[in-house]
């Protein structure tokens, strides 16, 4: 583990370490190899884009890092912890504490308001109502939607829904933000605004972000791009100076 930490690409502390991970699915009688011998390290405070064509395994890799899927072989360490060793309940608790997940299709609960959606993860904490309210309001202010707290998802635009989803992802102040095609369902302006927000979270709040995208413009906002092809990383992970990434930020 110590060796892994010292081998971080950006020179900081390694937060995510994926070691020789393989993932395969049985589909009918066929065995589909989705990831083959993947190694990846992400340092604390990094903003990494995972790029690749459809079926390259980038979302699967993100799911493994999030602990919502498990590898067929290999290990995933987050903050030095092998999450494959965690049981079902511990893994759920770990996800709650350490992972903020942003989905392509927002996945807000339609029966809850923006406020209630963002508050949802806090229901798992011991925070009292007033503390929860403060945290939710702060998160919604960060994403610029403090004036939409009582709106239901159906009353929001796609870009606004994604902002609420981001607020939900950051409200517990997680160690790691994982975004699966966060701009994939948005028009160009909304997509830019979301990417601006992610960059802001990375730069101003020091959030470590791993973002899956197939959009080169979105990937350009990250400090580093990792390319996958047919389940394998095809380029050596290169650290990019933060100031060179996403200039319009």
């Amino acid at each position: 583990m110590e060796e892994a930490k010292s081998a971080s690409t950006a020179g900081g502390e390694t937060l995510v370490e994926v070691e020789n991970v393989e993932k395969s699915y049985a589909r009918d009688r066929l065995r589909v190899e989705v990831l083959q011998g993947v190694d990846l390290r992400v340092d604390t405070g990094e903003f990494v884009a995972l790029m690749g064509p459809s079926g390259s395994g980038k979302s699967t890799l993100l799911n493994l890092i999030a602990g919502i899927d498990s590898p067929t072989s290999g290990r995933v360490h987050i903050g030095g912890r092998d999450i494959g060793q965690l049981g079902e309940s511990d893994l759920a608790r770990w996800r709650h504490r350490h992972i903020g997940f942003i989905f392509q299709f927002y996945n807000l609960l339609p029966v809850l308001t923006a406020f209630e959606n963002v508050e949802l993860p806090l229901k798992l904490t011991r925070a009292d109502r007033s503390l929860r309210r403060r945290k939710v309001q702060t998160a919604l202010e960060v994403v610029g939607l403090a004036d939409r707290i009582d709106h239901y998802p159906r009353q929001l635009s796609g870009g606004q829904e994604q902002r609420v989803a981001i607020a939900r992802a950051i409200v517990t102040d997680p160690t790691l933000l994982l975004a699966d095609e966060p701009t994939g369902d948005l028009d160009a302006d909304s997509a830019n605004a979301i990417l601006d927000l992610l960059q802001e979270l990375n730069r101003s709040f020091g959030k470590t972000i791993v973002m899956v995208t197939h959009d080169p413009l979105a990937a350009a906002r990250a400090q580093r791009t990792v390319r996958l092809h047919k389940g394998q990383i095809v380029n050596a992970p290169q650290a990019v100076p933060a100031e060179a990434a996403g200039g319009e930020g």
């Binding site: 079902e88 759920a92 996800r95 997940f101 609960l109 029966v111 809850l112 949802l120």
Partner: protein, 382 residues
């Protein structure tokens, strides 16, 4: 979490309303039938130490007058009195003017019905007037009769009209429904019919309730070889047969209730399964956010229990309303139903049953929801 449960419950209002209504209807039926059964079985006028003897074939057949003396000689029988149902019409056919009219023997009536109260003066006045009758206080109040009131009851079962004079009032403090009837001299009826020497029913007052089985057996055995065999039964059982609810009423109602509850259980379970299936993706999102399987299980279970509980409240509410309406309409025609009410026990039972239906119907959907594969669920298009 309660808010989420409630919002989930109300997101498809038509489906929820229909499910709640189906549970409510089933529990209404159960509550209603249960209350009806209680009213019949627990008829407040019944005494555990009274036995009714009637013709074995049917209530419409009379028995010989001579049976009275023989029944009096049975062990553990304190007193015997005849009662003959006259039927007839008072004023008109409206239920408000219907009340039981019995031909009775003043000398023994209150030995058997010792839980009825009548003043000595009233009793003597009635006893001494062959054309007199006594009525319950509640009936007198309702009809607005006064002492000396003359009434005419037109015969329908018997070819005889009764001209009667009110000579007394009786009460029964613990059973107001018993005060909705009149007693007149059976001898007056006998004379009017040409002294056929018949009696509709004999009522026996026993030493105690423990004596019922042996007296019933002895009475039936005594006349089994005669032209008019008898059937002896408790006052409560007689009430049931009187209402023509023959056979095992409890078993019948229980079977209906069970069938209804099981059907509703399946319907509710199917609805809950559909609701849970619709939300697989949301469950996967919640699991991604860190919610445990137990949280998901409780979300679905609580929703199902809420459906059952709401259904129970709807059913119990309907039962209370309809029983109230029915009682006011029935108590004149069928005084036995004077006690018809949805008791707290029955209403509580309905609520528990509703919650149990909810719980049972939610178990499988809740289990399935808690086992949702997160990645598969997130891919699900809703």
């Amino acid at each position: 979490m309660g808010k989420l449960v409630w919002r989930n419950l109300t997101r498809n209002r038509l489906r929820t309303a229909l499910t709640v209504a189906s549970v409510g209807l089933a529990l209404f039926l159960l509550t209603f039938l249960g209350s009806l059964l209680d009213a019949i079985e627990g008829t407040e006028t019944s005494s555990e130490s009274r036995v009714v003897v009637r013709h074995a074939v049917s209530l419409t057949f009379d028995m010989p007058e001579a049976y009275g003396n023989r029944l009096t000689r049975l062990d553990q029988v304190q007193a015997v009195t005849p009662l003959t149902w006259f039927g007839g019409t008072y004023k008109d056919q409206r239920p408000a003017n219907f009340f039981p009219r019995f031909g009775a023997d003043p000398s023994t009536l209150f030995e058997v019905f010792d839980d009825y109260e009548i003043s000595t003066a009233d009793f003597q006045a009635w006893r001494d007037d062959r054309g007199g009758f006594i009525a319950g206080q509640e009936l007198i109040d309702k009809q607005g009769w006064e002492m000396g009131e003359r009434i005419t009851v037109l015969g329908d079962i018997y070819p005889l009209d009764l001209e009667l004079t009110l000579r007394g009032v009786f009460t029964r403090a613990d059973a107001p429904s018993a005060e909705r009837q009149i007693f007149f001299h059976r001898r007056y009826l006998e004379e009017g019919l040409g002294n056929p020497g018949t009696v509709g029913t004999y009522w026996l007052k026993l030493d105690s309730a423990d004596a019922v089985p042996s007296v019933v057996r002895a009475a039936e055995t005594m006349f089994e070889s005669s032209d008019a065999p008898v059937r002896a039964e408790t006052e409560e059982a007689f009430a049931l047969s009187f209402l023509e609810l023959l056979g095992n009423v409890r078993l019948l109602l229980g079977s209906i209730g069970l069938a209804v509850v099981v059907s509703i259980l399946f319907i509710t379970a199917n609805t809950m399964a559909m609701a849970a299936r619709d939300r697989v993706r949301e469950v996967a999102v919640m699991r991604t956010l860190g919610f445990q399987r137990g949280h998901v299980t409780w979300l679905v279970l609580l929703e199902a229990i809420l459906v059952g509980g709401l259904g129970a409240m709807v059913g119990a509410g309907l039962a209370v309303l309809s029983i109230g309406a029915l009682r006011s309409g029935l108590e004149d025609a069928l005084p036995l139903f004077g006690t018809l009410e949805a008791s707290p026990t029955i209403l509580g039972g309905a609520l528990v049953l509703g919650l149990a239906i909810g719980l049972l119907s939610g178990i499988v959907p809740a289990w399935n929801a808690s086992r949702v594969d997160i990645v598969g669920g997130l891919r699900r298009v809703t």
